[in-house]
Amino acid sequence: MRILVVEDDPVLSDGLKVGLGLSGSTIDRVANCADARAALAATPFNAVVLDLMLPDGSGLEILSEMRERGDVTPVLLLTALDEITDRVRGLDAGADDYLGKPFDLDELSARLRAIARRREGRAGPLLKAAGIVLDQATLRATVDGEAVSLSRREFAVLSALMERPGVIRSRAEIEDRLYGWQEEVESNAVEVHVHNLRTKVGRETIETVRGLGYRIRGRP
């Protein structure tokens, strides 16, 4: 998952980047409303972690703007306020979930996965297609019941393809999932990951659509 973290505290923001990165997500960080607007306009994210009190405004403004222009990216609010009215206001403004500071990193991670999969129309925690089962919480994968060991990047590529089995994912889309803004993207990185994945989950499972991208071949 590619997640945007909008948080002005550098220590917390860094912790989120590293911590959520450990559970397989790619994190981009911004520290104010202006940067958040720019980031949201430039990059598609699977979820947004949004702090309410930002130096140049309120996270609620960002949220309202997103919803107004029809951006359905799941948003989890982080706030230091406990009052129910604040939570209600956040949720009513279009937030998908809410966590009060301080929070548990694992809980945040789980909630992000939950709101992201709900947005994709899935209720269950497992991604299943073509005999492959991915557990995004534990980063475990099985093929026809057999456990397969995948690197974090491989897992991310496979997740991207399996979220919508049969739908073609372009190389750029997959790259967007894998790499944050500051990260160097090797030109053939996606090809390398797909190549490695094919040896692990089956050569036929991932189909290359010439000139367009990749997709999971339908074997329910």
């Binding site: 002005d8 917390l12 860094d14 450990l22 309410l52 406990d82």
Partner: protein
Amino acid sequence: MISLRRRLFALLLAATGVIWLSAVIWIYLGSRAELKHVFDARVREAARMVHSLVASGNMATAIAATPFEGTSYARQLSCQIWSFDGRLVARSTGAPDESLAQDKEGFAERQLNGEAWRVYTIVDAAKGLRVVVGDRIGLRDRLVRDLVAGLITPALLIVPLLAIMIWVSLGRGLRPLNAIAGEIAARDGEDMRPIDSEDAPTEVHPLLSALNGLFDKVEAARRHEREITAFAAHELRTPLAGLKTQAQVALAATEVPVREGALNKILVSVERTTRLTRQLLALAKLEATPERKTDSKASVGAVLREVVSSTPIPEGIAVEFDPAIDQLPLSGDRENLHLVLRNLHENAVQHMPKGGRVVWKGLSNGTGIIVEDDGPGIPDEELAVVARRFFRGRNRSAFGTGLGLTIAEMAADRLGTRLTFENRPDRQGLRCSVIWPQTDQGCVGA
């Protein structure tokens, strides 16, 4: 507390009573004067009539004609005819035996057997007779009293009715006040909406606008407090969230550099939280202590040296201290001075890029000191609010608490000095000035 209704009731009743009393007195006096006039005229008329009969020689008819005997009012005129030699020639029935007459012709008042009489005497020198007609003053007074009593009795009967009407009318008249009181009483503590004065009587408007003004003030104070609480919650919980997250990262990380990075971040965060706690305590203390204490005075140079030497300076940052500051005749309460200088110094050091310089020097006219840094400065639109509590501007440092400049400004105020922030005109960076007030004798420390 006196009830407005009772007060108005008493006032109205008293006023009505006074007016009635005045009216009664007026009627009494007026009637008495008028009656006296009328009765006197009748007494004189009767005397003349009797005299004219006497003059025509008809004595018996004269006495019989004496009018007004035994009226229903038991008021009687008494008539006597005396000869000059003191013999009672004739008298009317009921007239006293003693003489009512006087020597002179005309009106007189006489006492006879303890009774006051009003008499009119006609002296007929030709016949040697005196004709006297008299009237009992007691009877006249009784007539006046009866007249007044006749007026007062229904009035007294009306009084309770009038009182009830006043009481009820007051109740109705004061109803808008009760309505407003009811509206305010029914509010809960959160409701600070202004009271609608549209329907209220104009007399109550000043009171209502004063109340509404108070509501506004209370609401503003509460909003301010809520904001402060919200900021405080944010500023306290965010570093805690950072600490917890980094601790979880350190526990979960398998790679050594990741773990070490997280642990270092924890140290940074603890440092900042420590500082935040210190700042909050300093702020609470500043707010609790009375303004401007001058227990122990200290000179600027000494305190500044102490501040500079006790603040850890990150590598690559230089602090310059103009020794001329020691010569400045500026001083103030040690604790407040320390708070001002320390927070300004920390603020400057925190925002310093590598290789930056923090420079402390005196103002050229000797009325204050300034500190300049090479940091990013403060955007112009933030300059006015930079000392606001928990305000952390766009160019925030990782260590900032949003309280340093608030404390500096509060302490500067206690010192009696003026604190100003401006961006350096010569290059990027912030300049903070602490300026002591000028007096005729020159510059003094507060």
